[in-house]
Symmetry: C2
Amino acid sequence: MSALSRASGVSVATLKYYRRAGLLPPGTTTARNQAEYSDRHLRRIRLVRALQELGGLRIEAIREVVGAIDDEQCSLHEVLGVAQQAISSVGPAKCPELAEVDDLLRQLGWGVSPGAPARHELARALGILRDLGSDVTVDVFLPYAHAVEPLAEQEVGGVPADGATDEAVEYLVVGTVVYGAALAALRRLAHEHHSAQRYRRRAEPS
Amino acid sequence: MSALSRASGVSVATLKYYRRAGLLPPGTTTARNQAEYSDRHLRRIRLVRALQELGGLRIEAIREVVGAIDDEQCSLHEVLGVAQQAISSVGPAKCPELAEVDDLLRQLGWGVSPGAPARHELARALGILRDLGSDVTVDVFLPYAHAVEPLAEQEVGGVPADGATDEAVEYLVVGTVVYGAALAALRRLAHEHHSAQRYRRRAEPS
C-alpha cells in the first residue's frame, strides 16, 4: 500500500480510509501483511479524487458512482445518470418554471428523463432571474444550450460504443467532471478579461 | 420584519441570522420594535440566497462579496473579482500545468490577473486529465474557451458602464452565478440526451 501511495500521491491514511469506505477494492493478498495493487486501483484513486476535488462530491455520493461503475448490469447511460444525480446540488422542488424548461428541451429536441435534476436547477435559475426583477423568458438560455451542446456531444462520444470497458467508463465519468470544471474556470477567466476592459472604475450614477 | 419575510419567502429566523451575520443592513427605525425595510433589503436577501443556493458560498464568503458591493471605493471590476474569488473552490497551488494555462490565455488574448484562482482550476483540470492517462495539451480547452467567451462578454456587458448603481452591481454578481448554474445544468442535460442516444446498453468488451 505504500507503493500505491507513492504512485498516486495520496497518503496511506487516506487510502486506508478509501478502503474502509468501500471506494477502493481490496488488493490481491500475496503474503501476510502484503497485498498487490494494480493499475485498476490507481485509476480508481484518481477517479475518487477527481470527483471529490473538482466535483465537490461527498463520500456517500462517490460510493454510489463507484458502485454503478462496478455493476456490470448498469449501462453506460445509467452510470452517467448516477454520476449526474450525485453531482447535482439542487433537489427536486415544485417550481413554476419547470414547464417552461420542458418547453425549451422540446424545442432543442433533447430527450431528457423527467427525473433529471438539472431540469430543476435550470427552472430555479430562471426563477431567481425573475425574482431579481429581470423580465426574461426561458429562451434566454438558448445561446447557452447551443454553446454547450457540441462540447457535451464530443465528451460523451469520447468512448467508442463497442469498447466501453470499465476503464473507459471511469474516464468518461471523470472527464465530464473535469471538463465541467474547466468550462466553469474558463467562463470566469473570460469574465475577468471583459470586466477589466469595461469596469475598471465604478461609474458615477448618472 | 415579518412583512420582509413574506415578501422574500425567507423565514424571520433566517432574516435575523442574516442581520447578525452582517449580510443585511439594518432597517430604518420607525417606532419601538418597528423598523422599515426597503426594496434594497429585498434585493439583498435575494442576492444572499442566490450566492448561497446556486453559488454554494459560505456565509463568510458572502459577507466579503456584500462588503465589496457596499464599498463605493470598490470598482465594478473589483467587486466581480471578489465574487470570483469567493466562488472559486481550488486554492492556489504549485501546479506544473500553470505555465501552459498562461500560454493558452495569451493565445486567447485574455488579460487576466496573475492571482486569478480560475487559472489554478484550469491547470488542475489539465493535470487530472493527464493523470488519467490522457495525452492532451492545453489546446484541448480551446473549444471550451470559444464557447463561453461570447456568453461571458454578454453577461458582463449587461450593465451600462455609465449607470452602475448598487442595484446593477448586485444584479451582475447574481447573474454570473445564476447563468453559471444554468450553463452547468444545460451541459448535463445535453450529456443525458447524447448519452441516451449512444449508451443505453453497455457494450460487450470487444
